[in-house]
Every structure is written in C-alpha cells, then in structure tokens.
C-alpha cells in the first residue's frame, strides 16, 4: 500500500494477528512441546516431574489397560468407519433421486448430527436398557430375547457403534450427496445411450466420480473415530469389564484422575502417531483408487 510506513504496517499486522497468535502459541505450540517433554517424565501435576526416559512409552505397549484401550479403539474404528460410509452412501443415493420432499428427508437424517453426544447417549442408554428399553421390547414381540446390550461385554461395543451410526450417518450422507449432485447429467445420458443399466452406471460413473469425496470422508472419519470418547464415556464409562475403554478415556483418566500425567502424554503421542500414520497411508493409497477429474 502506498504512503504507508513500515512501522504502521507492522503494527496493523500484529494487532490483527495477535488474538490468533496467542491461540497458536499458548493453546497449541506450548502444550504440544511441553506434552512431548512431559511424556518422558513421571509427573502428577503437583510435584516436580521426574525424568524417566522411555519408561512411559514402554508402558503404553506393555501396560494391560493401555493395550486393551488401543484394541478397543481399533474395534470401534473398524466397526464404525466402513459402516458409516456404506450407509451414508446408500442414503445419499436414495436422496439423489429427484423426488418431492427431498429437503424434508435431508433435514430429518441430519437432525442427530447437530445434537450433543451427551444427549444422544442418554437417549440410547434408555433405548438399550434390558428391563425398560424399547429395543428389547420390540425384539420380544418377534420372539427374540434381546441381550443386555451395554451391560454385556460382547454387545457393548456393537451397541455403541450402532448409536454412533445413528448420529453420524446423516453427516456422511449429506457430504456424499453434495458430491453426487456435482456429477454432470451428461455422463449418465451418454451411458444410457450406450445401454448401461443402473448397476453399471453405479460402478462405472457414480463411484469413480465420487472417489475424491469418499477419500476425504474416509480420512476425516478415521481421524475422528480414533478420538472416540464422549459416547463411550457417557454410555458405558468404559465398561463392562473395560470392554469399551478407548485410548482417549485412558488419557483422560490417567491425566486427570490417576495423576499419571507423563504416561497420559505418552498415550496421547501414540494417538497422534497412529492418526498420522493412518492418514499418510491413506494419502499413498489414494493414488491407486481416487480419480481426480483432469482439468
């Protein structure tokens, strides 16, 4: 800009950036660096941290609760992510057929997305309740003796996954729907002239055109799935018998209840590394299956 002194320009930049710079430094950079440092110490937040080398990282892989929480988190990720994308895709395809009332259906499917996890969890605990829940009542009508869902160590995780699907599938559907609506009609028209049926159109036009959005959705849902906490913490507190304790619950309890802050930091770093590796692998694999339109 003309006629502006360097000093005043610098001052303007600093003023405008200051709040976000404070956020960047105080809420991100300092906590990241100090948690890296603390992960090598034994620390309870009250006394001075003691340097323990790689002990915490060793414990991450050899402490029974820690391993179990990693396995449980993986179970959630593996159960939830493919299903949310499959069901989301099915919903999106249904919603992409030009019919009246589309907006109403979309609003309904998206409703659980905006509600807090605590509310959703409380509703589902009741729905799942073995003696006063409606799910087992409905099952009993067709002669099935429903399990104790959240109180049974074999069904607790699937039950959490089902509730999570109910909450999040609308989000996946809306994102995929926006991708479907971007596919030019001409593609389908020319395919029809060539005599392609609906199945062929799905596999040769819809899915390939959708791969960039599918890729994005897979990456982001994997990242958020690894961080699963709210629903598990409210619905089961990690139980029964620790069958639903996830990494984030481990981190939370070790840091804020057990006074094992250094250990919690190491677990948090493990979570970061897992997420980074998974995302990097996705990025490498995408070259094999994601089609970007040539411009």
């Amino acid at each position: 800009m003309v006629g502006e002194s360097r000093l005043s320009k610098g001052l303007v930049i600093l003023t405008f950036l200051l709040p976000s710079l404070i956020g960047l430094i105080l809420f991100n950079i300092i906590p990241i660096i100090s948690s890296a440092f603390m992960s090598f110490t034994d620390w309870d937040m009250l006394t001075n941290p003691k340097f323990v080398g790689f002990q915490n990282y060793y414990n991450v892989f050899f402490n029974e609760n820690s391993i179990k929480s990693i396995v449980n988190t993986l179970k959630y990720v593996v159960g939830f992510t493919p299903l949310v994308i499959c069901f989301g895709l099915m919903l999106a395809i249904l919603l992409n057929i030009k019919i009246t009332g589309l907006d109403v259906y979309r609003v309904i499917f998206f409703m659980p997305v905006v509600i807090s996890w605590v509310v959703v969890s409380l509703i589902w605990i009741w729905l799942y309740s073995p003696d006063s829940g409606i799910i087992n009542y409905l099952l009993s009508l067709i002669g099935i003796n429903g399990p104790a869902w959240l109180q049974n160590e074999h069904t607790a995780m699937p039950a959490v996954i089902i509730a999570s699907l109910w909450k999040d599938v609308g989000f996946a559907a809306v994102i995929l729907l926006s991708g479907l609506q971007n596919i030019p009609d001409e593609y389908y028209e020319s395919a029809e002239i060539d005599g392609a049926n609906s199945i062929k159109k799905l596999f040769y036009i819809t899915l390939p055109c959708l791969t960039p959005i599918l890729f994005f959705l897979i990456v982001t849902s994997l990242i958020t799935s690894f961080q699963v906490f709210d629903q598990v913490f409210i619905m089961t507190k990690g139980g029964p018998f620790g069958s639903t304790r996830t990494i984030v619950q481990e981190i939370y309890e070790n840091a804020f209840q057990m006074g094992k802050v250094g250990f919690a930091c190491a677990q948090a770093w493990l979570l970061v590394v897992i997420i980074l590796v998974v995302t990097l692998v996705q990025n490498i694999l995408q070259k094999r299956w994601v089609h970007y339109e040539s411009k």
């Binding site: 003309v2 320009k9 610098g10 303007v12 930049i13 405008f16 950036l17 709040p19 976000s20 956020g23 960047l24 809420f27 991100n28 906590p31 990241i32 100090s34 948690s35 603390m38 919903l91 919603l95 057929i97 019919i99 009332g101 499917f109 409703m111 659980p112 905006v114 509600i115 807090s116 996890w117 605590v118 509310v119 959703v120 509703i123 009741w126 003696d131 006063s132 409606i134 009542y137 109910w166 989000f171 809306v174 994102i175 926006s178 959005i213 994005f216 982001t220 906490f229 709210d230 981190i251 939370y252 840091a255 804020f256 802050v261 930091c265 948090a268 770093w269 979570l271 970061v272 997420i275």
Partner: protein, 277 residues
C-alpha cells in the same frame, strides 16, 4: 402407460423406504420428548406406552429444584455465544491479514496455523489444563471460552472467502484515506457474511455440544454447561429416565430450534467445512 405406472410404483416404493428410515431417525427424539412428560412409573412400564397418559411438567419442576438446570442453560448460552462471537472476530482479523496484506514469512506462518488443525485436542488438553491452572483460569468462564476462540479451520475458510474480494475495493478505500481498521470493519466484514455464517454455525455447534474440555476445566456445578450438567444428572439418577429425558429436552430444544430455522445454512456449513477442510 405401463411404463408410467411402473415409474409411479417405483416412486411410491422409494417414499415408503425413506419414510421408514425417517421414523428410525425421528423415533429416539420422539421417545425422549414423550419420556420427559411421563411419570416415573409409566416411563418404565412394560409394554411401553407411546403417549404419556397425562402430559405433566412435573419432571421439569423436579429437576430444576434438585439441579440448577436454568443455570446450566444460561452457562451454555453465554459460553456458546461469547466463544462464537470472539472466534468469528479473531478468525476474520487473521484471515484479513493472510488474504490481503503481504509480508515476509506470511505463508510460513499460515502453514503453521494449518498444521495445528491436524493436532488432536487430546494431545494439547493435558498441558493446556496445567497452563490454565497457572493462569488461574480453571473454574472460570474465561477458561471455558478462551480455547474455542482460536480456530485454524475458521481462519482458513475465511481467508478463502476474503481472497475472492477484489483488491481494487480495498485500494480505492485506501486512496480515500481509510485505515486498515476501517477497511476491515466497514468493507471486508460485511462482504464476508456467507463465510461468517459457516464458521459461526460450526463454532456455535461445537461449543454448545462440547463435553470433554468443560469436564476438565471446571469442577463446580455453578459453571457446568448443559452437556456436563446432564452427565452430572446421570451420575445422580442412573435410571430415572423421566428426569433424564426432561434434562435432555431442555438441552436439545435450543439447538434443535436454531437448526430447524436455519437448516439450509447448517447443512451447507457442515458439508462445506467437510469438503474444504
């Protein structure tokens, strides 16, 4: 003729399928609302009744006597609104600099901001809690609000938008002697409404629904926001469904109303953040 009938049959079938799915999505909400008006006997009765035999507000009265639910609601409203407004202002300010003012190191700094987007909160929350304790921010509204005033995704989305505003606009204003502050508040912000709506909705939703950070940073019931208050309610009455559902209803109605009124913006914002993020 027969092809037309065939098409119609298909359409009706599709509607039936979508209506069945809608029931699946609406039913838990409906069940929550009905449960909030049933009494403690009816709420666990088997076989269950859909409608309460008598619509009574007793549950709402009971929980507001036993728990400061009104306070939770006020806390949530205050925290969500102030976080969102501050976040919008701070993001827009930073985005303006990144979009319109050239300086050395700008891209490096911007990249640094973007990198923080990928850092999970679970990593920073532990030592951030400790920092906030040192600053005497634990158990305070500031402690609840401050972390959500920083949003790298918000800065990114706003910068994308501000970049589309032609430089000539700002240059013309500079010639007329307007300062950066004037340009920002009088020219840029009003042109940013769509981006502000997107970031605002995302920020409001996140703050309204946030659970883990309030759980960590507050310990007194006076400061609990609705999600945290509800979990405390659950701690006291594990299976008093009528009371829990009444609490749920109080917590859900505000966000559900905002959503239903502004659903187009909600869905667009989330889809947008999805594709751009």
């Amino acid at each position: 003729m027969s092809q037309n009938n065939n098409k119609r049959a298909k359409r009706i079938l599709l509607h039936i399928l979508l209506i069945l799915l809608s029931v699946l999505f609406i039913f838990p909400f409906l069940w929550m609302f009905m449960g909030a008006f049933k009494n403690d006997v009816e709420v666990i009765k088997m076989p269950p009744t859909l409608l309460p035999s008598k619509f009574s507000f007793d549950n709402f009265r009971t929980i507001s006597k036993l728990f400061p639910v009104g306070r939770f609601l006020l806390n949530s409203v205050f925290v969500a609104f102030s976080s969102t407004i501050l976040q919008l202002l701070f993001c827009a300010m930073a985005a303006y600099v990144f979009a319109k003012i050239k300086f050395t190191g700008r891209e490096v700094l911007f990249t640094l901001f973007l990198i923080t987007m990928m850092v999970p909160r679970q990593l920073t929350m532990i030592t951030l809690y400790r920092i906030f304790v040192n600053l005497h921010l634990q158990n305070s509204y500031l402690g609840l609000i401050l972390p959500s005033t920083y949003n790298a995704l918000g800065i990114f989305l706003m910068r994308q938008h501000i970049r589309t505003i032609p430089d000539s606009f700002a240059e013309a204003a500079t010639v007329d002697g307007a300062s950066h502050f004037k340009i920002f508040f009088k020219l840029i912000l009003p042109l940013c409404k769509p981006a502000l709506a997107t970031v605002g909705i995302l920020g409001f939703m996140e703050s309204w629904n946030s659970f883990l950070w309030p759980l960590i940073i507050t310990s007194s019931t006076e400061l609990a926001t609705l999600p945290l208050g509800l979990s405390k309610l659950q701690g006291r009455w594990t299976t008093a469904w009528n009371l829990l559902m009444a609490g749920n209803v109080i917590s859900t109605i505000p966000i559900l109303m905002v959503y239903l009124f502004a659903q187009k913006y909600f869905i667009k914002s989330l889809a947008h953040s999805g594709i751009k993020g």
